[in-house]
């Protein structure tokens, strides 16, 4: 195994696998079936943060300093809570301005300043060279270990293994990151390969950890127990460090995770969709957690086995190698190799791009002899990458042996920290200025060099060692590692002092030299990215510019940095973006928009600051055109009679107005959809089902529709979560709804009822403790139809005035739809009742006609035969009396129909006069004695004393007759009790039978026209009780019904002694 050739084959095979995967991802991207534009790939690719420092160095760091290694991962975990706000803002900046690096962002923020970009690039390159060197050192050491530990001992192995490794990494970097120049600067293949590498290093490290813990020991407890014996030099909790170091490292790592060029590149430049940030903000910390679980057990286990921490940085690999587990050793080696190559490729890609954008291109633009370089941007990046790798190799050769991995990494972290005040201040403080940024970064970087680089140089003999102990010029208070006699570990000391001078200079510089107006305007636009996007319409003016000339000029500008074909494509894209290119001319203000678009497209290739300078230099807008644009804007302002300040205010006003109009348009669209859906059905159930789904989730998390009906109210429920919806429905079906206070209030007042938390009367499955409840009354024609209750988070739109207004409008439309559905159902029922009535009336009218006809035919036959005289008188009387009875029955039916007509036409009149109700009742019962007897009923009358009053005698007789004959008809064979009584103001008539009773559901219906209890058992029009009620109510009284199935029926009529005058 320990053979360099095998190692070379393994590395080459693994690299080929990664290149193949990357190529596949690129092809998928080209076919619009991206695998890289995926939230998990994005989150895994961020794992490039875990470099060889994590893979090997953390174990070494833990062996020396205990838990301090965790700060490098806990810091990013804490800061990840703010990623949604910070990284997303940077992503939007990238999308809007095609920035490709952190210096690009800073340049863009600070007036497209090349100086800012140059300084930031310088800091990052100088600060990151040691970090790349760290990766080289680790790869050389581990390659030597797996190839042949004795032949390739570090540092000597670097001379043999270093050059081919550098060449390999350069090729890898070019293949993955620098193959082509594209305005978006996204590399789907590289992202996919990084995701694979992240998985490989995670699996490898966890496997190594598990091997140590359970293969070499009997579990974690055994590891910690073995390391606790006195013979093992186990570290203290934080080694020799204290709380200050812990906090300083947390801060340092938390900020570095975004400021490191590779992290910025993956998190911002390679971001395909800003929502991916949301996933990364928890998945990335989770990844760091898992990869670190075994770090301390491996460190302590190795210390327990070896007794000392020598070569602790390679414990992860040396333990399986020494244990003779080749497969695991190769897996660990590949894991470390993945960690190193991933970091080097992305870091070198990012730094090389920065160098080309902010150093070489500006230099080529400035110095004429270098002008030809502009046509070779790709080659410049390749050379820059090679230079970076060589510089890192040189650093590794010069200083690598004397420092452990973590120390080198932390020095780099402290360097990139110097960009933090300018970046975060620039993102969130409108007062930050270019001068402040330059002052802060410059002072911070100077302090970094003094506190961290000078000591390295002093220790390696490049500077006098006495500098560290006696300070410069013998002033001890100025010693680089103990400024003003503050002593801490070198990194914490440097973090403290660099931040003090950096932030101080940044703030003071910004206050003393604020941004000039154009820079401030640009900064305001940039910081406004999270707000409304400005309208891009270009106002027309009468001055025309030749499109052909402008196009040729632009192609020439792009050709400075691209091939001819690419230049033409970019030019046409710029024209298309402003909606030009179809005619022969550009209007004056279109020229200004075109210039901005060209600059944006060029920024993707050479950086924002360089693009700005190049476009200005190319003279894309001539002086004459600039004047024309200025005049055009001036004319616009003059036409508007506005000063620039007023214009800004009006712009703000109109922007807000546009936002409100857009919102209202969306609301109207929503309401139009609501109306359309509600109009799609007139069936009540379907309407209710649709209605309850309408506000979810547009306005609410859940909605509950309660419709009033006779008996228990009916409910419909909808929730965004199907499980909750199911549970809510079950809860509502399980037991009758106790009307909550909010519903009662809304129904009583006819106004919206809001409460928070939701009314406790709702079933627990429906309400949430923190939800706002809004109950809307559904007002129909007449009584309220019911309520619609909306449940939404307290901060949701529903709580706002416009949300409430929208929900009220929704309630109005819903009420109309439900009312229509109910009226439609009533109309359907009325039509059905009419048809039933016609059938019944026909039958009822025909029933007496048939015997009447038979009786008349009998008489006719007797007359024709001359037998009439021979007929006994009693038979003749019976025959004629029978015919007369049928005629009376027909007249009774017709009278009822006439009564109905009068009632409907409101022509029902009473002929009121004094009468005795008791006597009338007895008389009516006497009149119907035969019918009662035929029905087998026994009638008892309690009407001993006269009950005098002023009523319409005939109508009262009609009431009594109806009730008594109904009892005989529907309760045949039973006892019927009639009781008449009265008090000073009121007379009371009760007719009780002991029949089968009337079902509850039918009781109210009985007083409606054409309704009967059992249509099949008895004849009749179904008008009797309707007319009874009308007569009684016309007298100012009331009729009530008490009945239970199986316990008989009582009709009670109450009549005031004096009928009201209106009757």
């Amino acid at each position: 195994m320990r053979d360099l050739a095998i190692a070379a084959v393994v590395v080459t095979a693994y690299a080929a696998l990664l290149v193949g995967a990357a190529e596949w991802a690129e092809r998928r991207e080209a076919r619009q079936r991206s695998v890289a534009a995926n939230r998990w790939v994005y989150s895994l690719a961020l794992g490039v943060y875990a470099t060889t420092w994590t893979f090997y160095g953390s174990v070494g760091f833990a062996a020396r300093n205990g838990l301090l290694f965790l700060t490098v991962y806990l810091g990013p975990t804490l800061c990840a809570a703010g990623w949604w706000w910070i990284v997303r803002k940077l992503v939007r900046m990238k999308n809007a301005h095609r920035v490709t690096s952190l210096p690009d962002v800073l340049a863009l923020r600070y007036g497209k300043s090349q100086t800012v970009a140059l300084l930031a690039t310088g800091i990052l390159v100088v600060g990151l060279i040691p970090y790349i060197a760290l990766q080289l050192k680790t790869m050389i050491v581990t390659l030597g270990l797996v190839a042949n530990g004795n032949r390739f001992a570090y540092p000597a192995s670097g001379r043999q293994l270093g050059p081919p490794l550098i060449a390999f990494l350069l090729l890898f970097t070019i293949a993955f990151g620098l193959r082509r120049i594209r305005p978006t600067e996204r590399h789907p293949g590289m992202m996919f390969a990084l995701a694979i590498e992240s998985v490989v290093k995670l699996v490898a490290f966890v496997a190594a950890g598990a091997f140590v813990v359970w293969g070499l020991f009997d579990g974690p407890a055994d590891v910690f127990r073995s390391a606790a014996v006195p013979s093992v030099s186990a570290p203290a909790l934080l080694g020799s460090h204290g709380m200050g170091t812990w906090l300083a490292h947390l801060l340092l790592s938390g900020l570095a995770v975004l400021l490191l060029p590779r992290q910025f590149h993956v998190a911002v430049v390679e971001n395909a969709e800003e929502d991916h940030v949301r996933t990364a903000m928890w998945f990335f910390p989770a990844y760091l957690l898992v990869i670190n679980v075994f770090v301390l057990p491996v460190a302590l286990g190795a210390l327990a086995l070896r007794g000392s921490g020598n070569a602790a940085d390679t414990f992860v690999l040396s333990l399986p190698l020494e244990a003779g587990v080749p497969l695991l050793s190769w897996l660990v080696f590949l894991g470390g190799f993945s960690a190193g190559t991933g970091m080097v490729v992305v870091e070198t890609t990012a730094l090389a791009t920065m160098l080309s954008h902010h150093v070489v291109i500006p230099a080529a633009d400035t110095f004429r002899p270098l002008g030809a370089l502009r046509r070779h941007v790709r080659a410049i990046r390749w050379v820059a990458a090679a230079a970076l790798l060589l510089a890192a190799f040189a650093y590794e050769r010069g200083f690598g042996e004397g420092y452990d991995l973590a120390s080198i990494g932390l020095i780099s972290f402290a360097a990139v920290l110097q960009l933090a005040p300018a970046l975060l201040g620039g993102l969130f403080w409108t007062g930050a200025s270019r001068t402040g940024a330059l002052a802060g970064m410059g002072a911070g970087f100077g302090m970094w060099v003094y506190t961290l680089v000078v000591p390295v140089l002093a220790r390696t003999g490049w500077m006098p060692a006495s500098l560290l102990t006696e300070g410069p010029f013998g002033i001890g208070a100025l010693a680089p590692e103990g400024l003003f006699d503050l002593h801490a570990d070198p990194v914490s000391h440097a973090v403290l002092w660099t931040l003090i001078v950096n932030v101080g200079a940044f703030v003071i510089g910004s206050l003393l030299s604020p941004s000039r107006r154009p820079e401030q305007a640009r900064a305001d636009r940039l910081l406004d990215l999270l707000a409304h996007a400005p309208a891009e319409a270009v106002p027309a003016t009468s001055v025309q510019r030749s499109l052909g000339a402008k196009r040729a000029q632009t192609v020439a500008l792009f050709e400075t940095y691209h091939s001819h074909d690419e230049a033409v494509v970019l030019t046409d894209a710029s024209l298309a973006a402003i909606g030009g290119g179809s005619g022969e001319d550009l209007r004056t203000l279109e020229v200004a928009a075109f210039e901005a678009e060209v600059e944006r497209n060029l920024a993707g290739s050479i950086g924002a600051a360089a693009a700005h300078a190049a476009v200005r230099r190319a003279g894309l807008v001539s002086h004459e055109e600039a004047r024309a644009i200025s005049v055009a804007y001036g004319e616009l302002l003059a036409g508007l009679h506005l000063s620039p300040e007023e214009l800004l205010r009006k712009l703000d006003y109109h922007r807000e107005r546009e936002r409100l109009l857009a919102r209202d348009a969306a609301d109207q669209q929503f309401l139009a959809g609501v109306s359309s859906l509600l109009a799609s059905s007139l069936e009540l159930d379907a309407t209710a089902r649709n209605a309850v789904r309408l506000p979810v989730p547009h306005l609410a998390t859940a909605a509950l529709l309660v419709l009033r009906e006779s008996g228990a109210p009916r409910t419909w429920f909808c929730h965004v979560d199907p499980e909750r919806e199911r549970a809510g429905r079950e809860a509502l079906e399980g037991k009758p709804l106790q009307e909550p206070g909010s519903v009662a209030r809304a129904l009583r007042t006819g106004r919206v009822a809001t409460c928070q938390p939701a009314d406790p009367a709702w079933p627990a499955a429906i309400r949430d403790a923190d939800l706002l409840e809004v109950t809307l009354p559904l007002a129909g024609v007449g009584e309220p139809l019911g309520t619609l209750t909306l449940l939404a988070p307290a901060e949701s739109r529903l709580a706002s005035p416009e949300g409430l207004a929208l929900s009220e409008e929704l309630g109005r439309r819903l009420a109309i739809a439900i009312d229509n559905a109910r009226l439609y159902a009533s109309a359907e029922a009325a039509i059905q009742a009419r048809d039933d009535f016609l059938a019944i009336a026909s039958h009822e009218l025909k029933t007496p006609l048939t015997p009447l006809r038979l009786q008349i035919q009998t008489l006719e036959r007797l007359v024709r035969r001359g037998e009439l005289d021979a007929l006994p008188p009693e038979k003749l009387s019976k025959l004629v009396g029978g015919a007369d009875g049928q005629i009376v029955r027909i007249i009774g039916l017709i009278d009822k129909l006439l009564d109905l007509t009068r009632i409907r036409a409101k022509r029902f009149r009473l002929d009121v006069g004094p009468m005795d109700l008791a006597a009338t009742v007895r008389a009516v019962i006497e009149q119907h004695a035969a019918q009662i007897r035929d029905a087998g009923c026994q009638v008892t009358v309690e009407a001993s004393t006269p009950i005098l009053g002023s009523w319409d005698r005939l109508r009262v007789e009609q009431v009594v007759a109806n009730l008594v004959t109904n009892a005989a008809k529907y309760a045949p064979g039973s006892r019927v009790a009639v009781r008449v009584e009265g008090d000073a103001g009121c007379a009371r008539l009760e007719v009780h039978d002991e029949g089968p009773g009337i079902p509850t559901a039918a009781q109210q219906r009985l007083f409606q026209p054409f309704e009967r209890v059992r249509t099949s058992e008895a004849s009749g029009l179904g008008l009797g009780l309707f007319i009874v009620r009308q007569i009684v109510e016309a007298h100012g009284g009331q009729v009530t019904l008490k009945s239970e199935p199986g316990h008989g029926t009582s009709f009670v009529v109450e009549l005031p002694r004096q009928t009201p005058a209106r009757a």
């Binding site: 949604w84 909790l237 947390l250 929502d275 903000m281 919102r663």
Partner: protein, 79 residues
């Protein structure tokens, strides 16, 4: 007319920002507790505490992420 998520009404943003800050502060407290308590814990229990606290913060971040996503979807529905 379409709108971006940011343009749509967003009453959740300050609340979610406060949750994010709370998670960061809680995390800082949990991560520094083993170094502040007296007597100091051993390295093993401290490590176990830190891993547990780390897991808790990751879960909190996942919940925050979920809440942000739900808010964004609601805003998209508004738009």
């Amino acid at each position: 007319m379409s709108r971006t998520a940011e343009e749509a009404p967003n009453h959740h943003r300050p609340r979610r920002g406060a949750w994010a800050a709370s998670i960061a502060v809680l995390g800082l407290l949990l991560f520094t507790w083993p170094l502040l308590r007296t007597p100091l814990l051993g390295i093993g229990p401290s490590y176990a505490h830190l891993l547990g606290a780390w897991t808790l913060i990751v879960v909190a971040l996942a919940l925050l992420s979920r809440a942000i996503g739900r808010g964004a979807r609601e805003r998209d529905d508004h738009a």
